[in-house]
């Protein structure tokens, strides 16, 4: 086994965050009554002409700059011809020979812990196009129903090079891309509503072979989990086919999440003669240097740049920096926490945001923007851990209190609930002496070599101190006394 290499390229359709369609003034709002947002242009009534939406172009430029690609000074719209009832014109307006964005790359962190590695995936291109309508195949007396609200919705189709070598890399790529389009505000990333969907081109080849194997394209994967499951199934299927002596035929397949299988949708031979040609209704799209410069000036600090800064400036690990730059919201929360707690507490800030806060949010199904504990409150709490006012354990109690609105600041909670840590060594010593006197059995066990007895004694002291004694001091004092 293991003599096969997997090759994956991904095409992503990202719905652009415009209020109107790419070539008409109809609304793009999700969830409207069928066909109430399909105007004459979207319906392809005779005599209509497309007029390009400036914001859609703006989004494409933003994306191009964010991935370090070339923004084409001149790009051309083409007609992709095919017949389907949800495509009233009989063609989709897309871009073929001269797309708006060429090249670029994304850097991914794949895996975690010791097995984590960095991977650069090159992008081929990104082009502007319009979405089609929706066909409903439920029974309308043996007919299909057509809703054209989605027809003409602006899409950016983002095409990667076949650089990925596993489903994990494919998922990492999709996640980074998903994070990026949301980060730069060109797509809401809502996968349930179809705002971000992936097609995966999958092939296998014997390890060491230079030529690619024949690929099959898995269409319309709208969750990261389905992306992984579909690729894993498809890879195994292709390997079995080849090992049993059959050839892979180029084809388009669909993934059925219920059965976990991919199945053939159409063979590529006939259907894919789209007879592209430049759309005579649209002139070339010219993007001047000053437009690109203006968009560049409006771009926020990009996730890659922020990640780099978190690593070099704040000393975070690649994994932590990657997690904290998964979205603008997380990054902003983390930075606001550090602003209060201080840069030298960046590591505990990272842990609190990624572990404690994330777990609490998860438990209540809340987004970070809705967190009841604000970043300055958390920063204040971390300060009190850093200056030994409270221990980590007590801090969890304070966090819970802040979450439940039992105080405006960590200081107020600590004060009101009397949680200040006991650091007075005289007071701790008194507690230690008490515990040693009352637990002669444990002391004897420890002296007989039972390490566990030590922990029991620490527990007793902490209990006597109601959890408020400084754990390090307790440890040190106990050791001293027991050795003496």
């Amino acid at each position: 086994m293991n003599q096969w290499e997997v090759v994956i390229g991904i095409e992503t359709h990202a719905q652009l965050a415009t209020v109107s369609k790419i070539f008409s003034g109809a609304s793009t709002a999700f969830g409207a009554e069928p066909n109430t947002q399909a105007c004459a242009v979207d319906l392809a009534l005779p005599g209509v002409l497309p007029v390009l939406n400036r914001k859609a172009v703006d989004c494409a430029i933003r994306f191009g700059l964010a991935i370090g690609a070339d923004v084409a000074p001149k790009s051309v719209f083409a007609r992709k011809n095919y017949f389907y009832p949800d495509l009233p014109k009989g063609y989709q307006i897309s871009q073929m020979d001269l797309p708006v964005v060429v090249g670029g790359s994304l850097t991914l962190q794949v895996g975690s812990g010791d097995k984590a590695y960095e991977k650069v995936v090159r992008l081929t291109r990104a082009h502007l196009e319009e979405d089609a309508g929706k066909s409903l195949h439920e029974d309308f007396h043996g007919k299909s129903g057509i809703d054209l609200n989605r027809a003409g919705t602006p899409l950016l189709e983002i095409v990667s090079e076949p650089d990925m070598r596993s489903s994990d890399e494919a998922v990492a790529y999709a996640k980074v891309l998903h994070g990026l389009v949301r980060w730069i505000g060109i797509c809401d990333g809502n996968m349930q509503e179809g705002s971000f969907r992936c097609d995966a081109n999958v092939s296998v080849r014997p390890k060491g072979q230079v030529e690619f194997g024949t690929r099959r394209e898995i269409k319309n994967l709208n969750s990261f989990r389905f992306l992984k499951e579909a690729i894993d199934f498809e890879v195994q299927w292709q390997i079995n086919e080849i090992e049993e002596g059959r050839k892979i035929q180029q084809a388009t397949v669909l993934f059925d999440p219920d059965s976990g299988e991919t199945r053939m949708m159409r063979s590529k031979e006939d259907a894919h003669d789209y007879r592209y040609f430049p759309d005579p209704d649209l002139l070339p799209l010219v993007i001047g240097a000053e437009w690109v410069a203006r968009v560049k000036g409006e771009l926020p600090e990009l996730p890659g740049q922020k990640r780099e800064r978190f690593m070099t400036g704040l000393g975070l690990s690649a994994y932590d920096a990657g997690t904290l730059t998964a979205s603008q919201e997380i990054a902003a929360y983390f930075e606001a926490t550090v602003a209060v707690a201080g840069a030298n507490n960046a590591k505990p800030c990272a842990n609190w945001v990624m572990v404690d806060l994330a777990a609490r949010l998860n438990k209540e199904g809340k987004e970070i923007a809705e967190a009841p504990v604000s970043a300055p409150q958390l920063g204040g709490l971390i300060q009190r851990i850093a200056d030994n006012t409270i221990s980590n354990n007590i801090a969890k109690k304070v966090f819970e209190a802040l979450w439940n609105g039992e105080g405006a600041t960590a200081d107020e909670v600590i004060d009101k609930q009397g949680l200040k840590q006991i650091t007075d060594s005289g007071a701790i010593e008194a507690l230690v002496d008490e515990v040693l006197a009352a637990n002669a059995a444990n002391v004897a066990e420890f002296k007989a070599g039972k390490e566990k007895a030590f922990n029991a004694l620490v527990g007793q002291v902490m209990k006597a101190a109601k959890g408020k004694a400084n754990p390090q001091q307790v440890n040190d004092l106990l050791k001293q006394k027991l050795a003496g």
Binding site: S24, P34, V51, L52, N53, P85, S144, G145, D147, L283
Partner: protein, 95 residues
């Protein structure tokens, strides 16, 4: 360059145009006449001239991103052959 009868039939199929053999044959003649014209034009030296994507040497005008179209579903659907629940009905299509 010229088209074979086979290619003409394929193009007709892709365009969903039903053609009899006689029609295909006469269409082949017309199309190949156009190809001859193109061959004549290809004799012109175009070295160093940037290809144009449109007959007019102009750039695309853009519009601001604003909703300007109101819902006119009732008017559009009044001329549709069949509708139900706001949907246009068409012969069943299933891949």
């Amino acid at each position: 360059m010229s088209l074979t009868l086979e290619q003409v039939k394929r193009i007709a199929h892709l365009a969903r145009i039903e053609t009899s053999d006689a029609e295909a044959l006469s269409t082949q003649g017309h199309l190949n006449g156009i190809f001859q014209l193109i061959e004549q034009m290809q004799a012109v030296d175009t070295a160093g001239i940037e290809p144009m994507a449109h007959a007019q040497d102009l750039a695309q005008r853009l519009r601001d991103d604003a909703v300007s179209e109101a819902d006119r579903r009732a008017a559009y659907q009044a001329v549709a052959p069949e509708t139900e629940a706001g949907l246009y009905l068409v012969p069943k299509v299933i891949e």
